[in-house]
Symmetry: D2
């Protein structure tokens, strides 16, 4: 029974893995697609994670909620072509960039939901990287764009005015499953931003620190990221995204590309705190992948809460969650209780474990 | 009962998430720590993933196995200090770099397993980033180094010859939970490399392509990654690592930092294929995190198979798995059956789903 | 007299700096804009530089010349705007991206040669980076786009539907005077590529090595660059570009942004060598800057040789020169005479110096 | 005569290039090596450059001067070795890292001034990058480390316990002549930092803006750099460094690697401005290269002014100059007179040119 249930999601099935799910929230968000108070199911085995995100979520909600905006969307497949010469490569590139309509027609034979939106060619010597951008509707879309790109390759094979020596369906220029600087210039999935303003009083009461200290921390941490050579500068996007992706049947390997972006904190004119996050590569969907599995679907239902959930709203929720995590983490680092939280929790959990063992 | 079982792994527990586990292998490895044939439990909801890694694993095994080596290990916590002036910062940095023994003593009060191995200070204006490197034994070690660094901060507070304005336990210089160029200059967790040689015949029989074409693909894909601004150049490290981390109770958010590295393919003098992968940031442990949960422990037991499994061996297995994934992916892209594999699988799975629905 | 001559190029004039100019070439190029045999005036104080580039140029010429192509052109200024909120920022961004015609009209009041070609807005929380792309004709164009962007800012101030708190003429997103990954996704000045095929015999005769060894070197050096965290992978673009920029009155500080790109070497099917370079950020012009100064103009005349020289042709010549430098450097490293060349030259020059002193 | 004079600096000599030199300053600095008031000779053909740096220098001086510190020094050569297998590579790496004394002895046969200070090996599959760090005394040192590394390669050839297939003197891992993230983790030449505190009054009087606005600009520009994918975040290091390197006989191609670093601005508690720059890769020397040429030596003498100038002091002066440039540029962008300065200057210069023509 289980084997059959999972047949579309895995091969060589040997059994089930069980992970605990915790609930973080409520988190009030006023986005362009997501609006209201949300509870986030987070699947993780790392102690303190749910508590930290929940603290951040409640802080934001108490401050009146966060704003969020979907800024761009699209998924790229980037086939590569090897030619005999630079001249051939340049001619092909010029031709291909004019084929958007024809390529879109070819792509449409493979999907009713996805649409080719742009074609761009990058020439490097006698090589061409052809970036095919797709709108993927409610799907995260990696498989959709793979099949569509394959159809486009067949169209190219039939109609190319320039013969190539080799064609590869993906030449590693799309940023699939990896952090890439290119995401900031383009988009990888959905680009979202979220912001909140927290009053001086709330920062003191809930985080035991001051906006000045958090702004000072931000300056040091932003440069810390730059010195370490990260792509973007942020704290712990990966933690919340991995837990939410897992719980909601998203492809958790995409954390490699999604956990990239910008966190910015500053002091406001009235002595409060301004905080914003921007994520250029949120890869989520409400259909496909693991979204149809029972516990994952249940988590999606918990998250949607107040009604149907679009992929765009889900992307905005990812940004809001990331913002909650940054505020909580930076608050803890500024109050000096980051280690203490871990230590207390560890102690508490040792006791809990003993009880379990005794039970 | 479940709630109690998960008490040390999560807060606000609301239920369990169930993921299917598939088995990839066998994969023969001759490493410095891992030796023998291994079967990899992979937890994922993405169709084709287990099949692809299994194909790569069997190819390697048929070719006589892969070599692997642990090249470095250590986990860094990087507290940050803000001073009044550059002069104060420079004086503090000079002092701190001489305190390795004292800091190690402070750290040792928090852990019996971890050891401080190095102290390095980076000055930026009146800020200092203090990189504290730890040996973390069988643990992945993020919590261990957090508690140890906290003890060192207390020691610094008591003995510093230069007063600072602010101290933060982590100033975002360690690369924790994010891809960072710094990983190549240092190490993040464990640095491992693996290599295999595949004969021309095997490439033809198992991958339906040629070593020449795979070497050509590598050149294009390596530059594709460079043009996209990735850290390192590789194909799909994230897929295998996420699935293995999940199955084996590792912190899956670490995929953000672990899925970075180098894949290199070249033609050998006898017309075969040489392939190598190098991962500078494998964050794994055999204790702590989710490793004590029942299904995760069972997966670790399946993986260890032939006996006890050390964290070092686990890291080498990650490299071997990554190598298997790269060979299978690149093989599919070169044979032109990457999309076909996805399409066939999708079709097959639609049939399977219909059967499930009918059942 | 000199003071007056330099009045438009410098302030607080105190005297003249004298640099030697050497000639490298001939270099045969078949580009889209540059065609024929060229001699490159290179100003440098680094021994061996001119000799190395000249050797590479002659090798290419002997092999029948290199192809070159101008792939894109444009210079960006990126003003930044700070708003009260993300919502305001997003509204402004949406408005601004529709103002290309109006902004172009505003820009046209400042320049008869430059043209605004595209407007793109990037939102990060309540900040907006507005990328204004210009065609700059025969100029390198940094000043042209500064004045044009200033006019656009005034137009924005008069017509913006959303009030901003701050506006800055350049918010560090354009890549001006620095290496930036963004250059590969866009263009910075002119994007050019050049390639050559060198026969096995020529490699042996002129470089004392083999195509196999050079291809092997390339694989190691490409990954060496990736491991070091460079933007692009190449060897010594900076050497030739700095010497040519200097000689020809270009802004030599632009070497920071121009010395970025890709070098690729591979073995051809007939056992020869294929080599290509791609530079996304060549910042050159035939008017403005130092191009009107006497010795710089003389160098431009030497370079143009066979007739008038356009900025596009100059950019292609930069790529051809870079290719010559890479072939010579890699050849020397493969033949094992890289250090020897330096040592011999040093010895020879010590002798020369003694003669000078005696004279 | 000229030909002979330049014999050790160039080949295929055809004539002299003349560049104007302007003077920026005075700039007061309290460094670890440079102390006093300095006047900077800057060679450039870009109008406004000297004026801008001079304005920044005078601002710093009026504010009491800047502090500066040399934080690290060393130049790396990174030979590469290709082995048959990963096992061979790992064995060689382990051996090589223990040969510091022997390698230093080999190196000492080539130079009386340079010293090998560290040896580090990076293994990637069957390849090894061997980073050889040298102290280069008063020289910038690229040639010195090349000859020394060549001697070490000969020592390795004689004594290696593991046979390699290929050895290359430089495998592109040293960051020579290119911007590289690695510079922050290591050093490239000399790492220096400089800082200044400017009172609110001075900011208003000299820059026509406020510390708040400059701090706001910094936040936007720092993130602008991150979004553009620069290495480090700064504004115009390249302009001042190129002009100073040129004037003082340094290798101006090194601007590619030197114009990387961090600029940080913040509001101080008393409402003033704190500004700091950090440059990890200043490649300068007081001997060798073009330092012996007449006009370059004269410029070095002008710069040293108050006495002999060491390479360390020269490096600190580079940081101080960079700081001056950042303050002036950011001040102009905040006061809204960045474009105006260029326009006025252009107008003034057009007049000047007419006078020249009439003369």
């Amino acid at each position: 029974m289980s084997r059959a249930r999972f047949a579309r999601n895995i091969e060589n099935y040997i059994g089930m893995l069980v992970l605990p799910v915790g609930l973080a929230g409520p988190l009030r968000i006023e986005g362009t697609a997501a609006r209201g108070e949300y509870h986030f199911p987070l699947a993780t085995t790392e102690a303190a994670l749910v508590a930290s995100y929940s603290r951040g979520a409640q802080l934001i909600t108490q401050a009146g909620g966060c704003a969020a905006a979907l800024l761009a969307e699209g998924v790229t497949r980037s086939p590569g072509f090897a030619f005999r010469s630079l001249a051939d490569a340049a001619r092909f590139a010029a031709w291909a960039e004019l084929q958007t309509a024809a390529f879109a027609a070819a792509a449409s034979t493979t999907t009713a939901h996805g649409k080719l939106t742009a074609v761009r060619a990058a020439v490097e010597g006698n090589h061409v990287y052809l970036d095919l951008d797709f709108f993927t509707d409610e799907a995260a879309g990696q498989n959709m764009v793979t099949l569509a790109a394959d159809a486009i390759l067949q169209d190219i094979a039939a109609r190319t005015p320039v013969r190539y020596r080799h064609a590869f369906l993906e030449a590693n220029h799309s940023g699939d499953k990896k952090a890439a600087a290119l995401a900031f210039a383009r988009v990888r999935g959905r680009r979202v931003s979220a912001e909140a303003r927290i009053s001086r009083t709330l920062v003191a009461e809930r985080l035991n620190t001051t906006p000045e200290r958090m702004a000072e921390y931000w300056r040091m941490a932003a440069i810390g990221g730059v010195l370490a050579g990260t792509i973007g500068v942020q704290g712990q996007f990966a933690n919340g995204l991995a837990a939410l992706y897992l719980a909601c049947g998203q492809d958790v390997a995409c954390v490699a590309e999604s956990a990239v972006g910008i966190t910015r904190l500053e002091l406001t004119e009235d002595g409060g705190l301004y905080a914003a996050v921007t994520l250029p590569g949120v890869m989520v969907g409400t259909v496909g992948g693991g979204t149809g599995l029972p516990s994952q679907r249940a988590c999606l239902d918990i998250l949607s809460g107040n009604g149907p959930l679009s992929a765009r709203a889900l992307a905005e929720l990812c940004a809001a969650l990331a913002l909650a995590g940054e505020l909580s983490l930076i608050g803890a680092l500024c109050a000096g209780d980051f280690a203490r939280a871990h230590a207390q929790r560890a102690r508490r959990l040792r006791l809990a474990r003993q009880e379990v063992c005794r039970a």
